[in-house]
Symmetry: C2
Subunit: 160 residues, 2 copies
Amino acid sequence: MNLNNTTILFLTGILAISCTQQIKPQKTEQDRTHDPIFSKGERITNDNFTGTVWLNNLVTADRINQNAVGSVTFEPGARTKWHSHPAGQIILALDGVGFYQEEGKEKRIVRKGEVVKCPIDVPHWHGASADSAFVQIAITGREKGETVWLKPVTDQEYNN
Amino acid sequence: MNLNNTTILFLTGILAISCTQQIKPQKTEQDRTHDPIFSKGERITNDNFTGTVWLNNLVTADRINQNAVGSVTFEPGARTKWHSHPAGQIILALDGVGFYQEEGKEKRIVRKGEVVKCPIDVPHWHGASADSAFVQIAITGREKGETVWLKPVTDQEYNN
């Protein structure tokens, strides 16, 4: 061995530093914030929602196609008021973990890739879970009129 | 220094091995195959499509909600025949790069996050680009009848 201790310790140090740089924690798939497919749009400022909610209006209903289509992003804990739709609604869960509840039924968890069909005129609410945002596409028929907004979802209802 | 050369070289070796394990190439965002939000469903076997196309029927039209909603995955080069919809159609591009063309207009590129509104009764086709798959949500009103299928999209039309 011709290397002296000092040289070897120096090389060990260099190696240790480069290792430290490599082992920065990588985000796991679960941790990763997914790039949104549709930009989250504008923050909703009306009082039909609790918490922070964003809306990107993708399609406006018109004479030819009476469906409105929007991408809605609920930040953790955010939710709609109780409400109903005179022509029902279809919800496509795009990302995160959310809740959906119809009047008289138990709250259910809705995950990325799941689909919910809200019946006509049945009061319900939806939103994000407490720990995760929730991104949904809402397809809402406008041919029978607008959404009917009801009372806020209380913390007790939300946490049940 | 009480450490002997052998001990230090052994420790250096261990460190070098653990470094090697850390620097396995990580896939970049661009390389990553996106996990599909909706499973791709069943391969379409009817002759209304060219190439390999998959359909996941998310919502079937019914008396209450007359929209059918499906997630369609076109493999590279795959496309629909020319066709038209008596109540129009909305296409939401979820992933990849696709094409959309209406009769008498130029073919356009459709990317993740874009929305296309197909007018009523206007012949058109859509599908994947040659190099990339294309995943779309199709929202199709069934209240005025079924899709009208026309002639196949030729390679010349596809490549134009």
